[in-house]
């Protein structure tokens, strides 16, 4: 058994850097495309609605790990020479866009109908109606679920380890193999994830409780 010292801990933190970066890219990229999906999903065009519903069902009905594999090997086939890093980032972006799209569709539809009608009556066009009236309210409604998904996403980045990407979980595996102290190493890795995820979860449920009280 080897010691788990400063060097090993530093290696874990290097992994953490990639975990954080993957989660941030997935969340921002997924947020942009997810907003698009949510708008299409709640549009008037039936064909566009069905297509976006299928997109969401596809990502919600298959394991994230499989999505990583398919995108990882898929982008290589299309012939674009991308780094493993970019392939994984694309996969997380697509994954997040489907989940955020569905969350935000729900919150757009949860905004009372009178709001859209009032905006219409005031003569606001689609962009202004969405940007100034519906979305600010929908965003507030969606906050607990959005934060909940962010936690899912951070935990989900650990699956990049199985594709061979060195982020926090994979860094833990490597250190564990080197030092033969799996319980200590995976314990530390677990604590690091917990330190990131728990405050977010706590914040999300706090918001939810406050909003439930306000609605009563």
């Amino acid at each position: 058994m080897g010691p788990v010292g400063a060097n090993e801990f530093l290696f874990l933190l290097q992994g953490l850097k990639w975990t954080a970066l993957l989660a941030v890219i997935g969340f921002i990229g997924g947020g942009i495309f997810g907003m698009l999906i949510a708008l299409i999903r709640s549009s008037r065009n039936a064909a566009a609605r069905t297509a976006s519903a299928a997109y969401i069902a596809l990502f919600q009905g298959t394991p994230l790990l499989m999505q990583l594999f398919v995108v990882y090997y898929g982008v290589a086939l299309i012939g674009i020479d991308v780094s493993a890093w970019l392939a994984v980032a694309i996969a997380f972006t697509l994954h997040a866009s489907a989940f955020l799209g569905e969350i935000w569709r729900g919150s757009i539809e949860a905004v009372p109908k009178g709001q859209a009608e009032a905006a219409n009556a005031l003569g606001l066009h689609y962009v202004s109606r969405m940007k100034d009236v519906i979305l600010p309210q929908a965003l507030k409604i969606s906050m607990p679920a959005t934060i909940g998904f962010l936690v899912q996403l951070i935990k989900g980045t650990s699956l990049a380890a199985i594709v061979g990407f060195i982020e926090l979980a994979r860094a833990g595996q490597i250190i564990s193999n080197q030092t033969y102290r799996p319980l200590l190493v995976f314990g530390i890795v677990g604590v690091i994830y917990f330190i990131i995820c728990w405050p977010l979860s706590h914040f999300g449920t706090g918001l939810e409780k406050r909003m439930a009280k306000a609605a009563r």
Binding site: G61, P63, Y73, L77, G190, F194
Partner: protein, 222 residues
């Protein structure tokens, strides 16, 4: 793009994939059964008046829900032998799935239990219903109806999570896919096909759950 797709390599191994699909179902059902058991026991402890019984359950739920399943399964995989428990990877995976799903089940079932208001039960007694009828009609059925949607989508989520069990080489679909990939080098074809199998699995489950819900949990027609 001059890559030639060859799904033949996948079709040749179809029997293997079929067995592995059963393995995935086995993991999912056993894991969910364990999760429900943990969920029910956890809720009993969580809703008791004893603080010493409540605290560990709260800690368990928070720890499991805020760490990745991959880290949990590795931890359990290495921890069990140290506790003198030697199991094969598939049994280990079931325990990991049960523990993970159990934490979510506790929160879901607790919500259902708390949704039953005391006044309804008292109203049942006031109407002269039997104790058994009050429990069956006023406590159990509405509680089941309240938790059914979240519990079944949790079941589907758990089924999809079984794919992560490939990391400890449990017998299921994703590990079969990785085996076929390393034999045939048809990475995209293999994973694309297996993704399709997962989609069928989750769609069928969703359909069955919807049917059950309509049969047992719909409100009586007026």
């Amino acid at each position: 793009m001059n890559y030639k797709f060859d799904f033949g390599a996948v079709f040749e191994r179809a029997p293997e994939l079929l067995w592995a699909t059963l393995g995935t179902f086995g993991l999912a059902f056993a894991g969910m059964a364990l999760a429900l058991l943990i969920g029910i026991l956890g809720v009993i402890a969580r809703t008791s008046h004893n603080k010493i019984a409540r605290a560990p359950v709260i800690a368990f739920v928070e720890i499991v829900r805020n760490t990745p399943f991959l880290v949990q399964i590795f931890y359990i995989y290495f921890a069990l032998p140290l506790m003198g428990i030697r199991l094969n990877p598939t049994a280990t995976a079931i325990i990991a799935l049960g523990i993970n799903g159990g934490a979510y089940a506790i929160e879901i079932i607790r919500g259902g239990v708390e949704s039953i208001s005391k006044g309804q039960v008292e109203a049942g007694y006031a109407l002269g219903l039997h104790k058994a009828d009050v429990f069956r009609l006023i406590v159990l059925k509405p509680a089941l109806r309240a938790i059914y949607p979240s519990l079944t989508s949790q079941f589907i989520m758990l089924t999809l999570t079984t794919s992560v069990c490939t990391s400890i080489a449990a017998y299921e679909l994703t590990s079969a896919a990785q085996r076929i990939e390393s034999d045939t080098f048809r990475s995209f074809e293999v994973y694309f096909s297996v993704t399709g199998i997962y989609l069928v699995i989750s769609s069928v489950m969703m359909g069955i759950f919807a049917l059950i819900s309509r049969r047992y949990f719909s409100y009586p027609a007026r």
